[in-house]
């Protein structure tokens, strides 16, 4: 069986930020579900590792949280993007696209291009 790729260091944070950016305030379970959904079960996100990450992001000021009620009236902690988080997301998106573009270019390169 082929192993599912591990989430790259730091990319999980980017996914969390993007999810919150697109969907607005979410609770932890919701975020985990979305990431699973979007990545189409290709990524093996150990769901438990999401929570320390959320705590860390909150400490760093990218997201904020408060208790609220979930759809089925359970108590849950809702996370939302802060202004700093939005800025971070923009910067990281730019970085990511740049990196991806460079890597793509490397993949597309053929021997004759370099002669």
């Amino acid at each position: 069986m082929k192993e599912k790729p591990d989430v790259l260091q730091g990319t999980l944070a980017l996914m969390v930020l993007k999810t919150l950016d697109v969907l607005g305030p979410q609770h932890g379970y919701g975020i985990a579900r979305r990431i699973e959904q979007i990545s189409g079960d290709l990524l093996a996100v150990n769901q438990g590792s999401l929570y320390p990450l959320l705590l860390k992001l909150e400490h760093e000021g990218s997201i904020a949280s408060q208790w609220g009620a979930s759809e089925n009236n359970r108590r849950a902690r809702f996370y939302r993007l802060t202004e700093a988080g939005r800025k971070q997301l923009r910067a990281q998106t730019r970085d990511w696209e740049q990196t991806a573009a460079i890597i793509t270019r490397f993949f597309n390169v053929k021997a004759e291009d370099l002669l």
Binding site: H27, G28, Y29, A32, N46, Q47, G48, S49, Y51, P52, L54, L55, K56, H59, E60, S70, N72, R74, R75, A76, R77
Partner: protein
């Protein structure tokens, strides 16, 4: 930056970790609940739904732990845990903890106290900016045995032009009579070149200092005064600038007031407390013509920034060589004129350095001994806690973790001890400073500063690391099996541990022996000095000083000739003789004051003997004093040959001199000096005939038996710095006032100061020696006490370890006397080993301190033997108590109790 931020976050987390952990737990629970709900909705059985949810989430405990490890400071947490545990351990055995803390407090406190003295005197001796650039310039003439012979004005100019100095200044320390206020006062005053303050780099608090570019050849009649004088004599008058003061009857204009903290540089306390400065170029009246061989004043300089003293010295050597070639008449080859640059800080501390280093060494040994003692105690406890360690290890504690735990405990003890020592020192500093001799340079600057605190902390931590780590390491090295089986059943601890304990006790004994021998040698030196026959009789003699003004214009000087002055002197002497209780009186100059003056006050004259070729040989310099005829009898100096001065010797009769035996021996070996003629002033061809030889007296230094001296009749040559001597039963409290009344009845403008009995002068001349002797003796006693405790502790422990064995021996019929002997033998073996090592150390140390000794050989057999005997006695006494305990052991109870 990022690292720092992460670190700060971790610190914050450390404080809030409970909350974060709780939250993580809550959220994970929520997540599981939601997942399970969803799984149920998808149709799973409840048990399966829970299982799948958990699988998907992952190991939540591990997640929490990881988070914790990453986001917090496990090192600090462990540290806190260890500290808490250590504190509990201390409270469990408060006696042990107190003894350990007190021992360390003693060592660290004493070391810190001596360090604070060294910090002020040796490390920060100069309160001026960039003190490393300041040098003292000493001219030596080793060819004629003369050191530090002052500098002449042409040489000063040469130095200024040498290009390696920012400033070269000359100072000439003396006294001035400050008149105008209610009581004429004599103040310590200095004549300096105008660049003096610029050289020191200190400005005035009010007004200005002298203009360094001022080229006035004589006095420029400006004065700078100290803050103290400004407040005392002028009531801190804010409009003092521009006002005039009279010093030695000359009028000076005050141009500046120095800041309150300013202290002049100088070798004596008196000089450091200079209160008025006047500026002069030293080249015109009243100074002698600026000739190369007319030397006076001391030269100081500030080197160009960044120039090391050594390379400056190389420059100066080249300069001296070229000047010697250029002026062969002024610098005869056999005088070997040279100039030395001495860092100012070093030149000021001078002879105190050795004593302080000795003290620091001694106190360092005390610290070492107290640390060894503590290490020993820690080891002893290690054995008692062997079982605890074994259990912990058996339960899976890592060895490094155990070492850390034990190390934290001992380090905490050391740090607590260090703080206690520092706190005691801080509280007692005023009290302790009383014991420091006044003659110590910069006594007032000694303070318990931050630097001293830092020193105390560093010393405690360093000591704690060195002496805490080894016991911790040994303690954690246990053979689990044997320990768990045997510990608590009277077994003996590991071989290694007991070997280390023995080594520690031996080291302790050796160190104390070294200290005690040093103290013994110092004590004997001091005693010998104290008991030395000074060659004069100081008892019941009081000396009181006065100072005749030296106006800058010699024409206004009413005491410009010896005849004029003798009227004053004879009248004051006549009046003093009439005072109640006074039996004899005499007068001399300050140089005639036995032991009461520093080297700078010496009056050195060139001694030119008749019949010697003046051109080819530089004359030697000789200590010169001016005295009245009664001086010799009053001080009990014996005439050996010829005659003393008599009343018929006057300014217009042939000039005569009396020399001491040392001078006779040195300059007229195997000849009779009486009748020989000498000249004591290079510039004047007046011959002085030697009429008498007196026995040597230790008037310069108690440690120096024979320094050549020449005495001149004060009625033939005038002197300005006078000391009146009175012998008799006088009231020391009022004598100064009585003499002042008498002197001022003759001339109301004369100040009268420094009344002291010669006995006091004698004893204060020994003050630094006494201080270091007392301190080293105190340290040695402490060391002996600690070593005694150490050997007591070790032997007690041995007895405790061997109690089972002893009990069996007793049960098998051993004599109690044999048991006693056996234990005592163990103590004695340790003592002998310690003494052996100590004697070798003591030989090295006493060799190093030879220059501090007087009259006793550094290898003095009786001191070495006596001290070794004392140490052995203490060791036996300390072993005796546990030996008795061993002897009285009841084998019955002992063997059954196990």
């Amino acid at each position: 930056m990022k690292f720092l931020r992460r670190f700060l976050i971790r610190v914050a987390n450390f404080a809030t970790r409970r909350r974060a952990d709780q939250r993580l737990r809550d959220e994970i629970a929520e997540h599981l609940a939601l997942q399970i709900e969803e799984n149920l909705r998808a149709g799973m059985a409840p048990a399966e739904a829970r299982r799948q949810a958990r699988l998907k989430l992952g190991a939540d405990e591990a997640i929490r732990e990881d988070h914790h490890a990453e986001q917090s400071l496990p090192f600090v947490e462990n540290l806190f845990q260890d500290l808490r545990f250590a504190a509990r351990m201390f409270l469990r055995s408060p006696g042990f903890s107190l003894i350990v803390i007190a021992t360390i407090a003693l060592g660290v406190g004493a070391t810190t106290a001596i360090y604070s003295v060294i910090d002020a005197t040796l490390l920060h001796p100069l309160p001026y900016p960039n003190p490393n650039e300041l040098v003292r310039i000493e001219d030596d003439l080793p060819g004629v045995g003369a050191q530090d012979v002052s500098v002449s004005v042409p040489e000063w100019k040469d130095l200024e032009n040498s290009g390696i100095f920012q400033y070269v200044a000359i100072d000439f320390f003396g006294s001035s009579n400050l008149t105008g206020s209610a009581q004429p006062t004599r103040i310590a005053a200095k004549v300096v070149t105008p660049n003096y303050f610029a050289m020191l780099g200190v400005g005035a608090q009010l007004g200005r200092t002298f203009d360094p570019g001022d080229n006035t050849p004589g006095f420029n009649l400006e004065a700078v005064i100290s803050d103290g004088l400004w407040k005392r004599a002028f009531g801190a008058d804010p409009r003092i600038l521009g006002k005039t003061v009279r010093m030695d009857n000359d009028v000076y204009q005050v141009v500046g007031v120095m800041p309150p903290g300013f202290r002049d540089q100088g070798k004596t306390t008196e000089e450091r407390n200079t209160e008025a400065w006047s500026a002069a170029g030293f080249a015109a009246v009243p100074f002698p013509p600026a000739l190369r061989n007319s030397r006076f004043g001391t030269a100081f300089a500030r080197l160009k920034p960044g120039l090391p003293v050594a390379s400056a010295q190389a420059h100066i050597d080249a300069l001296v060589a070229s000047l010697t070639k250029q002026y062969p008449a002024d610098y005869p080859a056999q005088a070997v004129w040279n100039i030395r640059l001495i860092p100012l800080a070093e030149s000021l501390v001078g002879n105190v350095r050795q004593s302080l280093i000795l003290l620091f060494g001694a106190v360092g040994l005390v610290l070492l001994i107290s640390c060894v003692n503590v290490a020993n105690l820690l080891l002893a406890r290690a054995s008692a806690r062997g079982r605890e360690m074994a259990v912990r290890q058996a339960l899976g504690a890592a060895r490094t973790r155990l070492i850390r735990q034990l190390f934290t405990e001992s380090l905490l003890l050391f740090v607590l001890g260090g703080f206690t020592g520092f706190a005691v020192l801080f509280c007692a500093r005023k009290f302790l400073l009383q014991f420091v001799p006044e003659s110590l340079p910069r006594l007032n600057e000694i303070s318990i500063s931050w630097g001293v605190l830092a020193f105390a902390i560093v010393v405690s931590i360093a000591a704690g690391t060195v002496f805490g780590l080894a016991p911790a390491w040994l303690m954690s090295r246990l053979d689990l099996n044997t320990t768990l089986r045997q510990e608590g059943r009277g077994s003996n601890g590991s071989q290694q541990r007991s070997r280390l304990r023995h080594a520690l006790v031996i080291g302790e004994l050796a160190l104390s022996l070294v200290l005690m021998i040093a103290a013994g040698l110092l004590l004997r030196s001091f005693w010998d000095l104290f008991k030395v026959q000074p060659g004069f009789n100081p008892s019941r003699v009081t000396a009181i000083e006065t100072w005749l003004p030296v106006p800058n214009d010699p024409k206004t000087d009413i005491y410009s000739t010896a005849t004029q002055e003798s009227v004053l002197l004879r009248e004051v002497l006549r009046r003093n003789r009439a005072l109640p209780g006074v039996e004899e009186t005499a007068v001399g100059d300050r140089a005639a004051l036995p032991l009461g003056h520093g080297k700078d006050d010496l009056n050195m004259s060139p001694l030119i003997r008749e019949g010697q070729d003046v051109q080819s040989s530089q004359p030697p310099l000789i200590d010169t004093s001016f005295v009245s005829p009664e001086y010799f009898h009053l001080l009990g100096m014996t005439l050996l040959r010829g005659r003393l001065f008599v009343d018929q010797d006057l300014e217009d009769t042939p000039s005569i001199a009396v020399i001491n035996q040392a001078a006779a021996r040195t300059y007229w070996p195997n000849q009779d000096p009486v009748g020989k003629r000498v000249r004591l002033r290079a510039e004047k061809p007046d011959w002085t005939t030697i009429v008498g030889v007196i026995a040597d007296a230790r008037t310069e230094s108690l440690a120096d038996a024979a320094i050549p001296q020449v005495y001149l009749d004060i009625y033939q040559r005038w002197a300005k710095d006078l000391a009146f001597f009175l012998r008799g039963q006088v009231d020391p409290a009022t004598i100064a006032a009585q003499v002042r009344t008498q002197i001022q009845a003759v001339d109301p403008r004369l100040p009268v100061f420094h009344a002291a009995t010669l006995d006091d002068v004698l004893s204060s001349s020994l003050s630094v020696r006494r201080f270091s002797m007392e301190m080293v003796a105190l340290f040695a006693a402490t060391a002996l006490l600690l070593a005694g405790l150490g050997i007591y502790g070790t032997i007690s422990f041995l007895v405790h370890e061997q109690s089972r064995e002893i009990a069996i021996r007793l049960a098998l019929g051993a004599q109690r006397r044999d048991i006693l002997k056996m234990v005592l033998r163990q103590g004695l073996t340790l003592a002998a080993a310690g003494a052996g090592v100590g004697l070798i150390g003591a030989l090295i140390v006493s060799h190093l301190m030879a220059s501090l000794l007087y009259g006793v050989s550094p290898y003095d057999l009786s001191t070495f033997a006596g001290v070794t005997a004392v140490l052995t006695a203490v060791a036996i006494a300390a072993s005796y108590v546990p030996a008795l305990r061993a002897m009285r052991l009841n084998p019955n109870t002992m063997l059954r109790s196990e």
